[in-house]
């Protein structure tokens, strides 16, 4: 079950999706020693920005058919606060692959987002200096200040961004792609050309919800979410994730972290069958905080299947 990813040795292929598991809050909420038997093989932090962010006004959640829309707004302490207060608490966690097995270290992957190349550079440089951080994930679902479109939706912009920060770190550089684009494989290729060591997908699909008739609409004009629009995740998006991961894995040579609606080892296996090296679990952890460990166990039980599918087969 143990797997190597960009030079990291992981106990198993199941990690968390950024922003879907707060290890520090969970360590307080749960009696079991979460830090010693962490449910994931690696820990991905929520997105960290240069300055602290309070996040969006509530409501931030809306449940859909087999899915969840979130409009959280990337609340975080900012780079300094994260490095000073959170990172030390995130370092040194271990996971136990099977009951009774040797505890294995849980590397920390820090997810960062800037609104400009300068901000990304500052974030990457600061993380490079910290030994507790095993790898970096760039959240490029950030609007280009001019076009208003996500930087990650444009292969060329993405390539330039990655190239600009690539030189600033020796740590593995993962690019978290946006699914809200015409050709995610081209974006993945752009990230690869720019020097990414891996890509991860899918992030949430842009979605919206209106307030129930009887309730006021905090987002204005009937919009329920304080942030007006949000991102869809959960089982509802799994088939879209499978198609995008397959298209990306067929196009790029770098390893792929697949995610989107994974609820079981069988779902994780499907993403690996189309070419993912690691699988991230997000929304399912909300229903079951130990989902990562369960899915890793189930994955171990599922039979190995055929290799990644080829480019043509996903056209």
């Amino acid at each position: 079950m143990s797997v190597s990813f960009c030079g990291l040795e992981l106990a198993h292929p199941i990690i968390n999706g950024s922003g879907t598991f707060d290890a520090i809050a969970a360590a307080r909420a749960f009696a079991d020693d979460l830090r010693e038997a962490f449910p994931f093989a690696a820990y991905v932090s929520k997105t960290i920005t240069l300055e602290p962010r309070a996040g969006n006004a509530p409501p931030r959640l809306w449940e859909t058919a087999a899915g969840l829309i979130n409009s959280i707004g990337l609340p975080n302490k900012g780079l300094e606060g994260y490095l000073a207060e959170d990172l030390p608490q995130l370092a040194g966690m271990t996971t136990v692959p099977q009951p009774g097995a040797e505890p294995r270290p849980v590397p920390v992957i820090t997810n960062v987002m800037g609104s400009t190349t300068h901000e990304f550079s500052a974030l990457v440089e600061a993380c490079e200096a910290r030994s507790e951080i095993a790898a970096l994930e760039l959240n490029v679902s950030c609007p280009n200040v001019k076009t208003g479109l996500d930087i990650g939706a444009d292969p060329l912009q993405l390539e330039q961004l990655v190239r600009a920060v690539r030189g600033l770190t020796r740590k593995p550089l993962i690019v978290k792609l946006t699914p809200n684009t015409a050709d995610v494989a081209a974006c993945a290729q752009g990230a690869q050309e720019g020097g990414a060591d891996a890509v991860s997908l899918i992030n949430t699909l842009r979605a919206m919800a209106l307030a129930p008739a009887e309730r006021e609409a905090p987002g204005g004009h009937r919009a329920w979410l304080g942030g007006r629009t949000g991102g869809l995740s959960g089982p509802a998006v799994r088939a879209v994730a499978l198609a995008q991961v397959a298209a990306v894995a067929a196009r790029v040579a770098v390893p792929v972290i697949g995610m989107g609606g994974v609820q079981s080892g069988a779902h994780a296996r499907e993403l690996m069958d189309v070419g993912a090296t690691l699988v991230a679990v997000g929304t399912e952890s909300f229903r079951e905080p130990a989902a990562g460990a369960r899915i890793a166990r189930e994955l171990g039980d599922t039979a190995r299947a055929e290799p990644a599918i080829s480019e043509e087969s996903v056209r």
Partner: protein, 266 residues
């Protein structure tokens, strides 16, 4: 604060009782930790959780522990949508997933100070287990929309009732009763749970009277353990509190106002 096992538990419903327009669902939870007053659990039916209105529910739902009797945890349910409806359909012997107990509960009043429990609608739930654990008698003020809901008052002892339509008890708001009580005893401590409007009324009255108040808030929750950052309410002085981990019981002093979405179903 009691902490939850990381693994959610598959438990069996030992019984369901009607209480006016509410249901009391009793769940046998032998291994589970003793919940503290004000703590909650995330619940989901183990079978057919989904396929209801708008193809929901999908996520678990948060419910205050209303009472603990031996190894039984009791929950007070109001059917307001697909999740609470599905849970309301559960019969003795059927099973559900439980994660909990979660969150920060109430802190007992310092010796000698009288506790005033103020509840509204299904929000009376956490006040029952609080009353069970208080050393000295508390004053219990409960507000309901109508007579059928007011029957829920039987969940607590010696409750003074108010109804919006005057169909039973005081005709008006439970906060009217609270104002009188506080005038009578400014040294009292207030514990409240209910609709956002009621909680804001309680907060304002207590602020004016300089009476300490602990408010059990509610908010749409995806996880219940701090993972999603979805359940926030604005904190006094800026920023937000996560109701699930910073609450659900929050000191009124931490709030400028009670967010319109931070209350129990009205």
């Amino acid at each position: 604060m009691s902490r939850a096992p990381l693994h959610r538990r598959l438990l069996t419903v030992s019984g369901v009782d009607r209480l006016g327009s509410y249901l009391v669902v009793r769940v046998d939870d032998p291994g589970g930790p003793q919940p503290e007053p004000g703590q909650f659990a995330m619940l989901a039916a183990s079978e057919r959780w989904g396929g209801g209105e708008d193809e929901r529910p999908y996520l678990s739902r948060a419910f205050s522990v209303a009472r603990r009797r031996g190894s039984e945890s009791h929950f007070l349910l109001e059917d307001v949508g697909p999740g609470s409806r599905r849970l309301s359909e559960l019969r003795a012997g059927e099973r559900l997933w439980m994660l909990g107990p979660l969150g920060r509960g109430f802190t007992a009043p310092s010796a000698g100070r009288r506790a005033i429990l103020v509840g509204g609608g299904v929000g009376i739930a956490p006040l029952a287990i609080l009353q069970d654990t208080l050393e000295q008698d508390a004053t219990v003020l409960l507000g309901f929309r109508d007579r059928e809901r007011a029957e829920g008052a039987a969940l607590l002892d010696a409750a003074i009732v108010a109804t919006d339509d005057g169909s039973s008890g005081h005709h008006g708001l439970v906060t009217d009763l609270l104002a009188q009580e506080i005038e009578r005893d400014p040294a009292a401590v207030v514990y409240a749970c209910g609709p956002a409007g009621m909680l804001e009324g309680v907060r304002a009255i207590c602020e004016v009277g300089a009476v300490p108040a602990q408010l059990a808030l509610e908010a749409g929750m995806a996880c219940g353990f701090g993972a999603c950052f979805g359940c926030v309410v604005p904190r006094r002085g800026g920023g937000y509190l996560r109701v699930c981990v910073d609450g659900p019981v929050i000191d009124a002093a931490e709030l400028d106002h009670v967010d319109a979405h931070a209350g129990a179903p009205a």
